[in-house]
Amino acid sequence: MTQPAAISTPQALPSAPPASLDPKLIVPLINSIRAVFGTMVKLTVTIQRPHVKTSPAPMYDVSGIIGLSGDFIGSIVVSFQMEAAARIVSLFAGTTLAPDSPDFPDAVGELANMIAGGTKKALGGMASITVPNVVIGGGHVIARLSDVPCLVIPCQTPVGSFAAEVSIKKVQRSNASGGVA
């Protein structure tokens, strides 16, 4: 729960996704976000333009982090501003969850878990996801694979904004296998 890093600053947004952004990654993540929020939180999510993270500057206060291993390695991070996180997880849990409640990080982690799980399935191949880690506190920095671009998908809901960040690469090997941990 101490992984560093930052949530992106959507500065100069590219007019189109850069070549390094794989649309095969963007679509499954967006679909998974919409499915999780529509089903479990009962919120409609408006997706803003995806972009590559260019600044390490932190922007959010709470992050749920899921690691992937197997045919795909990397991480999926779902980050919120505190107020939005509190409102979203309260809707998810069906009860008010204050940020100092022990159930608050649990709910953030479970949302990240479901988003990552749905994305993983759509990517194909065999990969495993870790149990969630949750970081709470403004200014945290999350370290990532240095050779993989980090894609940011900013999201808006009626109760606040959040962002999904994905930094994943496919492992090239002839005998791929991936058990579930």
Binding site: A35, T39, F92, A93, D106, N113, M114, M126, V180, A181
Partner: protein, 126 residues
């Protein structure tokens, strides 16, 4: 009806518990991982009418738990409720001994339907 919910997310257990109480389950036990679940099962001689198991959990995951339960108990209805959605995972879970499989995210209606379906199917087979 006695139900055991096994999920490392307390939020998810709470959501499932509320849904299952609507089904008339008057006794719901909870475990945060497979190890804890095995302890609860061992200390509950009367057993459970249903066990709902997550897959990815610390200490002991859900598929290992299912295999361990099935070593001794072939009868208790087991439902896997997980984000693991690949066909190979579903097949692995069925081979391990689950009676039904629910992919997260799911609606309360889906959970209720899967539970009813599982219990009805097993009653019919009995």
């Amino acid at each position: 009806m006695k139900i055991l919910l096994v999920d490392d997310s307390r939020t998810m257990r709470s959501i499932q518990k509320k849904v299952l109480e609507a089904l008339g389950s008057n006794e719901v036990a909870e475990a945060a991982d497979g190890m804890e679940a095995l302890g609860i099962i061992a200390s509950t001689p009367a057993g459970f009418n249903l066990i709902v198991v997550d897959w990815n959990m610390p200490n002991m995951d859900g598929i290992t738990l299912v295999r361990k339960i099935r070593e001794r108990d072939k009868a208790t209805p087991l439902i896997m409720a997980t984000t693991e959605a690949e066909k190979t995972r579903v097949i692995d879970a069925i081979k391990a001994g689950v009676n039904n499989y629910i992919i997260k995210p799911f609606t309360p209606e889906t959970l209720l339907e899967k539970v009813r379906q599982t219990l009805a199917r097993l009653q019919k087979a009995a």
